[in-house]
C-alpha cells in the first residue's frame, strides 16, 4: 500500500509517507494485540484492582449510621457517649430503607466485636425507640439491650465511621488499632495470620527444595538422552501434569492411608511394624504438592540444560578436573537460569495452594488461601478475604523483585 502511495505522489513527501506507513503498521500491530490487552485488563487487572479496593473499603457504618458517626465525633472514647449518640443511632436505624442494610451493618460490626450482630438486629427489630428526649431514648435503648452500655460496641462504630479503613490489612498481619487509633499487636490468642503466612512460606520452600532435588537429576538425565527417548520420557512427565489436581490428590489418599499401598509395602518389607501416619499431616501435603509441582521444575531445567553444550564438561575433565568437581563447577553454574526460573515458578505456585492442603492436611497445615476461602465462603467477610489476598499478592511481588535483584535478569523459561 505504501509503495503505491509513494509512486503517485512527489518525492518530497517520502518521509511523511514513510512515517504514515510506520504508523499504520504500528496501529495494525496494536489492533492485533488489542483482544489480548482487553482480555488481560478484564480478567487480570480489573479484578486485582477490585480486590485491593475491597480490602480497604468500609462503607457499611458510614452509609447506615451517618448521624451516629457525627454524634460520636467529639466523644473521648471512654465509657459511653452522650445521650445524643443514643438518639442518633435510633434515628439512623429507623431511617434504613431495608432490613438488608441493617444486616450489612450488623455483619460489619460483628466482625469487629463479636456480639454486635445480635445487638444491632435486635435493636433494629424493636424500633422505633420510645421517648422524645435523647435521655429518654438512651434509657429506652439500654432497657432494650444492656449491651448498649458497653464501650466496645460504641468504639467499633466510632472507629468505622470513615469510608476507608486500614483495619482489614492490619488484621491480616495480626495488628489492630486501639481506641485512640494507635496501631498495636493483637492479643496473643487472636494472632494467627503472621504464623499462617510463615507456614505458607515454609511449606512452599520445602516443596521447592524437594522439587529441585528430585527434578534436577531427572532433567539432566533427560537432556543427555537422544531426542526420541527424551520425548517419550517427557510424556511421562507431562501426563500427570495434564491430569486434574483433584484426581491426583484422591490417588494420594488411596496410596498414603494407613491401610494404603505405601504402608503395606513398608510393613511387608519389615522396615516398620505399624503403619506410619502419612496422611492428614504435613508429610501428606508435601508429598502431594511435590508431585503436582515437579513438572514446573523439570520443564525449565530441561530447556536450559538442552542449550548447555557438553563440550565444556569434557574440556574440564580433559584438563584434569575430577568429574564430580567439573559437574558442580562447570556444568551446574550454566544451569542457574533454569534453577532460578523453576524454583521461582514452583515457589510462587505453592504459595497459593488451597485444595491439596485442605484435603490432605490437618488443622495446622493449612496455607493462607484456606483462610481466604473461609472468609469468602463461610464468614462472608469479603473485606478480610481481600486483605489476605492483597497480602499474598504483595508477598509474591516482593519475592519476584528479590529474584530479579539476585539473578539480575528477567524471568526466563529457558
Amino acid at each position: 500500500m505504501s509503495s503505491v502511495a509513494a509512486s503517485v505522489s512527489g518525492a518530497g513527501d517520502l518521509p511523511r509517507q514513510l512515517a504514515r506507513a510506520d504508523r499504520a503498521r504500528k496501529l495494525r500491530a496494536f489492533v492485533l494485540t488489542l483482544p489480548l490487552l482487553v482480555f488481560l485488563l478484564a480478567t487480570f487487572l480489573v479484578p486485582i484492582a477490585a480486590l485491593l479496593k475491597r480490602a480497604v473499603e468500609n462503607p457499611e457504618v458510614a452509609n447506615a449510621l451517618p448521624r451516629t458517626v457525627a454524634a460520636l465525633d467529639g466523644w473521648n472514647r471512654e465509657g459511653t457517649p452522650a445521650p445524643e449518640a443514643f438518639a442518633a443511632i435510633g434515628a439512623d436505624l429507623a431511617a434504613l430503607p431495608d432490613s438488608s442494610d441493617a444486616g450489612a451493618l450488623a455483619r460489619r460490626l460483628n466482625s469487629e466485636v463479636p456480639g454486635a450482630r445480635s445487638l444491632v438486629m435486635n435493636t433494629f427489630k424493636a424500633l422505633p425507640l420510645p421517648g422524645a428526649t435523647p435521655a429518654e431514648q438512651q434509657a429506652g435503648l439500654l432497657a432494650l439491650d444492656a449491651r448498649w452500655g458497653e464501650t466496645k460496641y460504641w468504639l467499633a462504630i466510632a472507629k468505622n465511621g470513615a469510608r476507608w479503613t486500614p483495619d482489614y490489612l492490619l488484621a491480616s498481619v495480626d495488628l489492630r488499632r486501639d481506641a485512640q487509633g494507635r496501631v498495636e499487636r493483637m492479643a496473643p490468642e487472636q494472632r494467627a495470620f503472621g504464623r499462617i503466612l510463615l507456614r505458607t512460606f515454609e511449606i512452599s520452600a520445602i516443596v521447592t527444595v524437594w522439587c529441585l532435588l528430585l527434578g534436577y537429576p531427572l532433567a539432566y538425565w533427560l537432556s543427555t538422552l537422544p531426542a526420541r527417548k527424551a520425548n517419550v520420557l517427557m510424556i511421562l512427565v507431562l501426563v500427570p501434569f495434564w491430569t486434574s489436581i483433584l484426581v491426583r490428590v484422591a490417588a494420594w489418599i488411596v496410596l498414603l492411608q494407613s491401610e494404603g499401598l505405601v504402608n503395606h509395602a513398608l510393613m511387608w518389607t519389615g522396615l516398620i511394624d505399624k503403619p506410619l501416619a502419612l496422611l492428614f499431616n504435613r508429610t501428606g501435603v508435601i508429598v502431594a504438592m511435590v508431585h503436582i509441582l515437579l513438572p514446573f521444575m523439570i520443564l525449565p531445567l530441561y530447556s536450559v540444560m538442552k542449550s548447555v553444550p557438553g563440550t565444556y564438561l569434557r574440556a574440564a575433565v580433559s584438563l584434569g578436573s575430577p568429574p564430580l568437581a567439573a559437574f558442580f563447577r562447570v556444568y551446574v553454574p550454566q544451569t542457574y537460569p533454569g534453577i532460578g526460573a523453576g524454583a521461582l515458578l514452583v515457589f510462587i505456585l505453592s504459595i497459593g495452594y488451597y485444595v491439596t492442603p485442605a484435603l490432605l492436611g490437618g488443622a495446622d497445615d493449612q496455607m493462607l488461601s484456606y483462610y481466604i476461602a473461609q472468609y469468602t465462603n463461610v464468614n462472608v467477610n469479603w473485606g478480610m478475604a481481600c486483605a489476605l489476598g492483597a497480602v499474598l499478592l504483595a508477598a509474591t511481588l516482593v519475592l519476584y523483585a528479590l529474584y530479579r535483584r539476585v539473578t539480575k535478569s528477567e524471568l526466563s523459561l529457558g
Binding site: A104, Q257, A363
Partner: protein, 341 residues
C-alpha cells in the same frame, strides 16, 4: 424478516417456562442428596415441574454474589442454620409465605423461621467401629480418654461443635454448655481441653471422611454427622453411635431473593414439608422430620435411628445458632491461631 425470527424466539423463550417449568434445587450432595431425590424431587416432578438438582458446599458467597448481581439461577437452597438467620438479616432470602406451606403448629418450633423452614434434624455425634473398638464409649469424657480407648480421634476442622464437645468432656452439663462458652474463661477452658487431645486428633474436612476413617481403622473414635453412619451401615458396615451429648441442628430450605421461579419454589417447599414426603425421606436416611406429623408414619426401627427419637435426644444439645452467628468468626479465627501453636 430478522425481526420476526427474533420475535418468535423471544415468544418461545417466554412461553417455555409455562409449558415445562423447572426449578433448581441446591443440596449438600452425598447420601442426603440421594434421599432427597427419592423423597422429594422425583415425586414432585410428577406434578409437572422438573427439578434440577445441584450440589454445593454451603458457600453463602455464591448466593450473595447471585443476589447482588441480580442473576439468581438457584430457586430453592438447603442451608445450615447459622446462615438462615444471617442471610435473612442481610436480605439474601425471600420471606416465606407460610399460608402456602402449611400449619406452623405442625412443625418443630425451631423449624419455623421468617426466611427458612426446617428440612430435617441432624446431629453431630460420637461414633466408632463396632468391629474394631473394644469397649463401649458413652460420654465425651470417654472420647478424650486415650488410655481407655487408644487410637486417633477424628474431628471436624474448625471450632464449631468441637468447643462444645470439649466443655462436655470437661464436665460441663449439657444444658450449661453455651452459657459457659459465652464467657471468656469458658472459651479458654474449651481450647485448653482441646489442647489435651490435640496430638491424637485427625482432622476431617468433608462429612464423607469420618465413616471412611472408621472403616479404614485410621481413627478409634470420631465426631460425625449421624446420617453418614446410617448410610455406611446400609452398605453393610457395623458403625455405632454414642448419642449422649450429641449436638442436633436443622437444615433449612430457603429461596434466594429474586428467584425467577418463586411460586414453583414455594410449591416445592410446601410439598417437601408434608408428613408423607418427610416420612419417606426419613426412611431413606436417618435424619429426623421437622413436620411432627411425619413421626406417626414411621416404624420403630426407623425411629430408633433418628436424632429426634426420645432415647437419642435425651441428653442432646441443641445447636445455638444465635451464639455462633455472634461469636463464630471470632472463635474460628481463634481456632486457627490455636491450631498453629
Amino acid at each position: 424478516m430478522n425481526k420476526s425470527i427474533l420475535a418468535i424466539a423471544l415468544a418461545a423463550g417466554f412461553a417455555l417456562p409455562a409449558l415445562g417449568q423447572q426449578i433448581t434445587v441446591v443440596n449438600f450432595g452425598g447420601a442426603n442428596a440421594n434421599a432427597q431425590k427419592k423423597a422429594y424431587y422425583e415425586p414432585f416432578e410428577k406434578t409437572g415441574t422438573k427439578v434440577v438438582a445441584v450440589e454445593y458446599n454451603g458457600e453463602q458467597a455464591k448466593i450473595k454474589a447471585m443476589v447482588e448481581t441480580k442473576k439468581v439461577t438457584w430457586d430453592v437452597v438447603e442451608v445450615e442454620s447459622p446462615d438462615v438467620a444471617r442471610g435473612c438479616d442481610e436480605g439474601l432470602f425471600e420471606k416465606l409465605d407460610y399460608s402456602k406451606i402449611g400449619n406452623k403448629a405442625d412443625f418443630l418450633p425451631a423449624a419455623v423461621s421468617d426466611c427458612g423452614i426446617g428440612v430435617f434434624v441432624w446431629s453431630t455425634v460420637m461414633a466408632y467401629n463396632g468391629d474394631k473398638l473394644k469397649g463401649t464409649p458413652t460420654t465425651w469424657a470417654d472420647f478424650w480418654d486415650t488410655k481407655k480407648f487408644p487410637g486417633k480421634r477424628g474431628m471436624r476442622k474448625g471450632a464449631r461443635y468441637n468447643l462444645e464437645f470439649a466443655l462436655m468432656a470437661d464436665g460441663v452439663k449439657t444444658a450449661d454448655v453455651y452459657k459457659v462458652l459465652a464467657t471468656k474463661e469458658g472459651a479458654e477452658r474449651a481450647f485448653k481441653k482441646l489442647t489435651e487431645l490435640k496430638p491424637s486428633i485427625q482432622w476431617w474436612e468433608a462429612g464423607a471422611q469420618p465413616p471412611q476413617f472408621l472403616v479404614a481403622g485410621d481413627v478409634a473414635l470420631t465426631t460425625v454427622y449421624n446420617g453418614r453412619i446410617d448410610a455406611a451401615n446400609r452398605e453393610g458396615k457395623n458403625l455405632k453411635i454414642a448419642w449422649t451429648g450429641g449436638i442436633y441442628d436443622l437444615d433449612y430450605w430457603v429461596i434466594p431473593k429474586g428467584s425467577p421461579n418463586k411460586d414453583a419454589a414455594l410449591k416445592f417447599i410446601a410439598f417437601a414439608s408434608t408428613p408423607d414426603a418427610q416420612a419417606e425421606y426419613a426412611k431413606n436416611i436417618a435424619y429426623g422430620p421437622t413436620n411432627t406429623k411425619a413421626l406417626a408414619k414411621l416404624d420403630a426401627k426407623v425411629l430408633g435411628n433418628l436424632p429426634t427419637a426420645p432415647a437419642n435426644a435425651k441428653d442432646a444439645l441443641q445447636f445455638d445458632l444465635k451464639f455462633w452467628a455472634d461469636q463464630g468468626e471470632d472463635l474460628e479465627k481463634r481456632f486457627a491461631s490455636w491450631a498453629a501453636q
